[in-house]
Symmetry: C2
Subunit: 458 residues, 2 copies
């Protein structure tokens, strides 16, 4: 938790932005409650709502707050513990002292919130991120919709990371680096994927809050989000590890590396790997204030098609192929996303509000259409740089059948890649005044020779 001044300043800025946008009334924040896994008293690991953490810092369930846009008055709503709670949870600081600890002068029981919302003044709230919050907002504000001005004000603040947040992200990335090193060092033929995942996630729980998202560790990298880890590690495969650690301060890291399960890349694997590594490097080299991340995505698409063209997998004019969206056949996702308190930062507030400037229209094309961050870059943006090449038989067959690849795609050559899998390489990048900086104090090996050298254990 940061100092009370930081939270107070953030809330002041938020209310000022709301007034500047011509808004009045109140801003309502509803924090998370515990999330039942099996029943009410057996919950998943506690995780507070990220916007709540940003403005209030209090890392406890069942808190809410009201801010008055017009007067600046603030009140936190939550219940103090009783003797039963003390038996089960131990003595707890009072709600009032917790409120004061983040610069809020006033507090009241949670039940007082309902009354405070009455009176007909506008009440602005964010979209709910969990089912409970959906229910609770429907109860408190029947029929009301989330506030677009509030979404825009919050996004404008959380999008530009403060120095104290950048330090927290660097620390989370250092944990992510170690988590990935453990993953790489434990790849061994014949073991079950889950053995590696447990070691990686155990480290995150030892040194941080846990994972920043469910670990992807798969020998079927062409399946982008694979959360089952029940396969035996086989020789000659590519193992995609996309994983991140959440620090105890609740900031995320998010890295991807791809390893040859046998310790050495085959020629075919190395060819594709090098294209992805070149794309990752190109994106980083042109990331700087002034360029849009949409342009960076498209530059990467062009580079990727250039590499695939040299291998004879596509053919034709590079710019025409980019325009036709051919890169989407190989990389059906976007180049990257914002990262902060959430690994896909503020995704609950709406992808387009977070990742697109006013006037930027999201494409419908496969790949570009999945780009979560398209904005013009400014210092303080934290984004991922994660190009990938995947050979997805079902998608290739669809392109072939429906003629989606025009004359650009060499389907015959692609048949030799149906069992290839996929490769993704991802770093976390801060946009600086001068250009960009990769987050964390160490970078995971990425050049193919360096990767092979690091895989001594195999």
């Amino acid at each position: 938790m940061f100092s009370k001044e930081i939270y107070a300043r953030r809330r002041e800025t938020l209310l000022r932005k709301m007034r500047e946008a011509g808004q009045n009334g109140m801003v309502l924040f509803v924090g998370n409650v515990e999330a039942p896994a099996q029943y009410k008293d057996n919950c998943y690991k506690w995780r507070q709502d990220s916007s709540w953490l940003y403005f209030f810092g209090i890392d406890e369930p069942h808190y809410a707050a009201l801010l008055d846009i017009n007067t600046g008055a603030e009140c936190i709503y939550a219940d103090d513990v009783d003797i039963d709670d003390i038996i089960w949870m131990g003595p707890q600081p009072s709600v009032q002292s917790r409120a004061e600890g983040v610069g809020v002068a006033k507090s009241a029981p949670y039940a007082a919130l309902e009354e405070a919302l009455k009176g007909g003044r506008p009440v602005h709230f964010l979209p709910p991120s969990r089912y409970y919050n959906t229910m609770e907002l429907a109860r408190l504000m029947p029929g009301a919709e989330p506030s677009l001005p509030l979404i825009k004000a919050v996004v404008s603040m959380r999008l530009i990371k403060e120095d104290i947040e950048i330090a927290a992200l660097d620390a989370a990335c250092d944990l992510g680096y170690e988590m990935h090193s453990i993953g790489r060092d434990n790849i061994k033929l014949g073991i079950i994927e889950q053995d590696i995942v447990g070691k990686m996630e155990g480290f995150c729980l030892e040194k941080g809050w846990g994972v920043s998202f469910p670990t992807i560790l798969t020998q079927h990298g062409e399946t982008l989000h694979n959360h089952l880890h029940d396969k035996i590690i086989e020789p000659g495969k590519l193992m995609v590890i996309d994983a991140g650690c959440e620090s105890n301060e609740h900031y995320a890291s998010d890295f991807t590396r791809t390893y040859p399960t046998s310790g050495k890349f085959s020629t075919k694997q190395r060819e594709i790997y090098q294209i992805v590594a070149d794309c990752n490097e190109l994106a980083y080299s042109i990331t700087q204030p002034g360029i849009t991340y949409r342009e960076v995505h498209l530059a990467v698409a062009r580079k990727m098609l250039e590499g695939l063209s040299a291998l004879g997998l596509v053919k034709g004019d590079l710019d025409e192929m980019v325009a036709a969206g051919i890169a989407g056949l190989f990389q059906p996702h976007g180049l990257g996303h914002n990262m902060g308190l959430d690994v896909h930062d503020m995704e609950d507030l709406g992808e387009n509000y977070v990742g697109y400037d006013e006037g930027q229209v999201r494409a419908k094309q496969l790949g570009l259409g999945s780009l979560r961050m398209a904005r013009k870059l400014v210092p303080g943006h934290v984004i991922t740089d994660e190009p990938g090449i995947y050979f997805i038989p079902a998608l290739i067959e669809k392109f072939k059948k429906e003629g989606l690849g025009g004359d650009f795609v060499n389907y015959a050559a692609l048949e030799g890649y149906y069992d290839f899998g996929g490769i993704r390489l991802e770093d976390d990048v801060l946009v600086t005044a001068e250009g960009a900086r990769r987050l964390g104090h160490h970078r995971l090996p990425i050049a193919p020779d360096d990767v092979e050298a690091a895989m001594k254990s195999c």
Copy 2:
């Protein structure tokens, strides 16, 4: 997952029980969906609903099913994947093939469920265990209440473990044994509690599905449920570790041990520890078909008061003290609970339906009132045996102030225990035809000498 015959037989039994209870109409099961941690696409680790697992086994989100009590007809409702899903999740078996894999002949798209519920026939469903299921049931069955006959039928089945479940519980307990051994072996002065928790939970993720409940690891054992692990391990404290592993088959284990952080018990610690160990042993020794677990709880309360009496902390007639609920001051929880697919088995269906026989009335007394399992024992019950003694200053002060302890409590002597903490010792026990058997192939050291000997690392 078990064989299709097992699921088919369980469903047949369920419908027969419903008919025998004079019910007709349909039984609706709604499985879980993914549980968002931060936003819709960043979820906690997937966990299916336990009753769904018991009757249908399909370990996938967004499934539902209808069983016809009168005709025995069965249908599973879920959606097949489309090309977008295949890109993100890989090719998946069809819903129909999954249904057939658990002996259900018919399947339909999820959206067909709403139509199938129309027609005015009674629809029986279980209480929802998560917020999503609450919302979904309110949508599907506006205003309807969970079915008590269905709750009773399901409880009657899940309460008596089949051989295949006992084997699964033994395996989960073997994982729990290893998890706890890792915990014990990593207690070291000066490190942060979280370091140990991460290693224990990492093991659970390596070899099982994860934890069966959030790990309790605390030097403040008097706080019964403590999920923060941010304290430095200090000399001379008692460390309560209450933790369990969920196997990949989704069966739980749940053990508690208490360790002296310095590796040796002080005299004062050993005296209290021995009372708790004696209570744990007494409970096990009298656990057998025919006795109620309420009686076992009360026998333990008597034994505990006998020990505390010998130390001069209470005084008076033992039976009078038991009747007055004096044990609740030291052990404000019950002796144990049922365990199976859930660590508190079926707690979502209602504690009293699960843990109390018809006619058994739950006490209001502190301690006994928290007893989750009071039933007359029969072979196949799986229960925990977890006595504990805690010195909770706030509770002792309350007893003193309100005169709740009558003349039985030596408050002056208790003042010397305000910084003692707490001790709990827990095993998992199967009721057999002959008596009882502790689950798992090894038992964690529990005698104080054995515990000290096992703590070589300290």
